[in-house]
């Protein structure tokens, strides 16, 4: 069993801040939207907390962005430029999660410090981190003070449209977090990936000659 340092400290700080922040945003967001069903705290407290957590996560996003922009670790997000290679890798990964994993086939992706994401993760995280998360923050800031940003709100189609985009992304992220936690449990042990995001070290199983069981 080898140990590979693939999650540097800034990434781990960003990740867990983001994770807890998103859970709190979802919880307060649910309370704000469904006050008739959930009343853990007052509406006002939920709104104020939602705003503050939102701003913390925006700052946290820039921690993530700065780390990757100013270090060579940005390579983990470099896209695969060959479509054939990319689709083949994606197909293999989907085949693994949808079939191979049940038979005990080995994970086709072998992580390294500069290639820690499999093909599916690579695409998904680029979309999430470079498009969806910034869009969620942007719509959140517009909704935080609708009057201050009224011209921009109007440009995007009005407060109802901005809110609808914000809620659609909230729904997507809520679903994503559940699936993300499950997928994180599919390491060589259920806790392997969680430990890696705490210690920074991913345990890599020794390569068997003809595959391994899981």
């Amino acid at each position: 069993m080898q140990k590979l340092y693939i999650n540097p400290l800034p990434v781990r700080i960003w990740h867990w801040t983001n994770a807890f922040g998103f859970v709190l945003l979802i919880a307060t967001g649910l309370q704000i939207r469904y006050l008739d069903l959930i009343q853990l705290v007052s509406f006002r407290t939920a709104v104020v907390a939602h705003n503050w957590i939102g701003f913390v996560l925006i700052a946290n996003f820039f921690v993530w962005l700065s780390f990757y922009l100013f270090t060579d670790k940005i390579k983990v997000y470099h896209p695969e430029l060959s479509p054939m290679k990319y689709f083949r890798a994606s197909f293999r990964q989907m085949q693994f999660y949808g079939y191979g994993i049940f038979k005990g086939d080995p994970n086709p992706h072998h992580p390294s410090a500069y290639r820690k994401f499999n093909a599916l993760q690579s695409m998904m995280y680029q979309i999430i981190m470079m498009l969806l998360v910034p869009l969620q923050f942007f719509t959140g800031v517009l909704l935080w003070d609708v009057s201050r940003f009224s011209a921009m709100v109007e440009m995007f189609g009005g407060v109802r449209v901005v809110d609808t985009v914000h809620v659609l992304l909230f729904i997507l992220f809520s679903g994503f977090i559940i699936v993300h936690v499950y997928l994180a449990s599919l390491g060589h042990t259920p806790s392997a990936h969680f430990k890696a995001m705490i210690t920074g070290y991913e345990e890599i199983e020794d390569e068997p000659k003809h595959g391994t069981s899981s």
């Binding site: 006050l35 049940f102 609708v146 009057s147 189609g157 109802r160 659609l168 003809h210 069981s213």
Partner: protein, 467 residues
């Protein structure tokens, strides 16, 4: 006439007709004017002459309409009035001293007489009159209203007092027409303060303006009036109310400050280019025609009808010109005048921000009529929660209460999917456990077989080498 008013009527003897009047009234005055003279010692002889007859409660003048026009003028009240330095003739210049009281001048009705006297007011009160002409009252008169007030309906010309004089609120002329609203006002926080403290609290004209009075639901005039006294209101709300500025834009003050009031959503047709509320052109009643065509069963406009209607209005001026601006307001003028003390104002966000909240159960579409008063048509409440109306009511959204229903369904489906996919995956994984173990055993066996073969090969190679 105008000059006379400016000079308070003291130069009358320069006019020949006045000299005749003077002579006539001097005679009458010397005989019958003793009481009027005692009370009106500050008045000129001409006025005293008039009052010597008119300061009596007589039978009045019977008009063609059958109404009785009182001719009585109290000298005492006149002396105390703002017009005490205005001569009678300044306003009643049409009276011919020779025939006055002898020949009957026909007058159709009180309203006709009041209308005919308006020009007298304009001569001196130009500014106020011009403002009045822009008012909803003047617009109603132009539209043929027989009830809308004329100058003397609010300001009795023979008793009119200075606005600096604090009169009991019961003397407020607005109450003559707006009785129910005035009764509500008299019991609300402003009315009670006015009774107790006088001018420190607002009376009708302080918020609605005396002459340039506009329809209360038009624009943001009333809100500006509130903020002109409650200067720190925006700042004070910002201390505790998230998105306070937005609340100020989209909610009228009484919605929260008249906690017993009934509320509704008012979707105003708004010109997004000119940045003002759209008004119906006089003589071109498009709004009613279009809303009735879009809502033939009179059930209220649904999301499709609303969308079509907006499209029709946009055909007049270009895409995106006409939009809807939603606003939460109270249902009636009476509701708007039930303002409570600050401590009793609505502060609980639940009042509005939850499904089924009362203010969102009634929705109306509004255009400003030619006179400024709103013309309304009902809108189905479901419009506020419909995805199809996202574009139509894009500028109005209240978290929780006007949330789009389809997004709730989507959330449930995504959550069910997000939970069931891992559960399903785990279940299949568990079901395949024996297959996995069998395959793993085969792999180990195959590997050990390969290892044995490798070992045998190695041994053979070693033996060959030793030979």
């Amino acid at each position: 006439m105008n000059a006379l008013c400016t000079l308070t009527g003291r130069l009358l003897p320069t006019r020949p007709k006045s000299l005749v009047l003077l002579g006539l009234f001097a005679l009458v005055f010397s005989v019958a004017g003793t009481q009027a003279h005692a009370e009106g010692s500050e008045l000129a002889k001409e006025e005293l002459a008039c009052l010597s007859c008119h300061d009596k409660v007589g039978p009045g003048k019977t008009l063609e309409s059958g109404e009785i026009l009182s001719l009585a003028i109290s000298t005492k009240a006149y002396v105390e009035s703002m017009h005490k330095e205005t001569s009678c003739e300044d306003c009643h210049s049409d009276i011919d001293a020779k025939t006055h009281g002898k020949k009957i001048t026909p007058i159709k009705s009180k309203r006709d007489f009041t209308l005919s006297m308006r020009e007298s007011c304009r001569a001196c009160h130009k500014k106020n009159f011009t403002q009045y002409e822009d008012s909803v009252h003047a617009a109603l008169i132009k539209d043929g209203s027989k009830e809308a007030p004329l100058c003397s309906d609010c300001h009795n010309p023979h008793t009119v007092r200075s606005t600096k004089t604090v009169e009991p609120i019961t003397a407020t002329p607005c109450a003559n027409c707006h009785e129910n609203i005035f009764k509500a006002y008299a019991k609300d926080v402003h009315g009670l303060a006015r009774i107790a403290n006088g001018k420190t609290a607002p009376l009708c004209a302080d918020c609605h303006k005396a002459h340039n009075v506009q329809a209360a639901s038009l624009g943001s005039g009333i809100k500006d009036a509130c903020l002109s006294c409650h200067e720190n209101a925006v700042g004070q709300h910002k201390d505790w109310l998230p998105n306070a500025s937005r609340h100020f834009e989209a909610i009228s003050c009484p919605v929260c400050h008249a906690p017993t009031a009934q509320r509704r959503v008012n979707l105003r047709l708004y010109d997004n280019v000119a940045m003002k509320q759209i008004s119906e052109k006089a003589g071109v009643p498009q709004f009613e025609k279009r809303t009735q065509a879009a809502d033939t069963k009179d059930l209220g406009l649904n999301e499709r009808a609303l969308w079509s209607l907006l499209k029709e209005f946009n055909q007049d001026g270009g895409e995106g010109k006409t939009v809807l601006r939603g606003r939460l307001e109270v249902l009636s003028g009476v509701d708007a005048h039930q303002l409570s003390e600050k401590s009793k104002a609505v502060r609980d966000c639940k009042t509005c921000h939850q499904k089924g909240a009362e203010p969102f159960q009634s929705v109306t579409l509004t255009i400003a009529g030619p006179d400024g008063r709103p013309i309304r048509h009902g809108v189905q409440q479901e419009v506020l929660t419909s995805l199809l109306a996202t574009e139509s009511v894009r500028g109005f959204y209240a978290i929780g209460s006007t949330r789009i229903k389809l997004l709730d369904t989507l959330l449930i489906m995504v959550m069910l999917g997000a939970v069931s996919v891992p559960i399903g995956h785990m279940t299949i994984k568990r079901l395949f456990k024996s297959v996995r173990e069998k395959l793993a055993a085969e792999r180990i066996a195959a590997r050990s077989g390969t290892d044995d073969q490798d070992s045998a090969d190695h041994r053979r190679t070693d033996d060959d080498a030793s030979k």
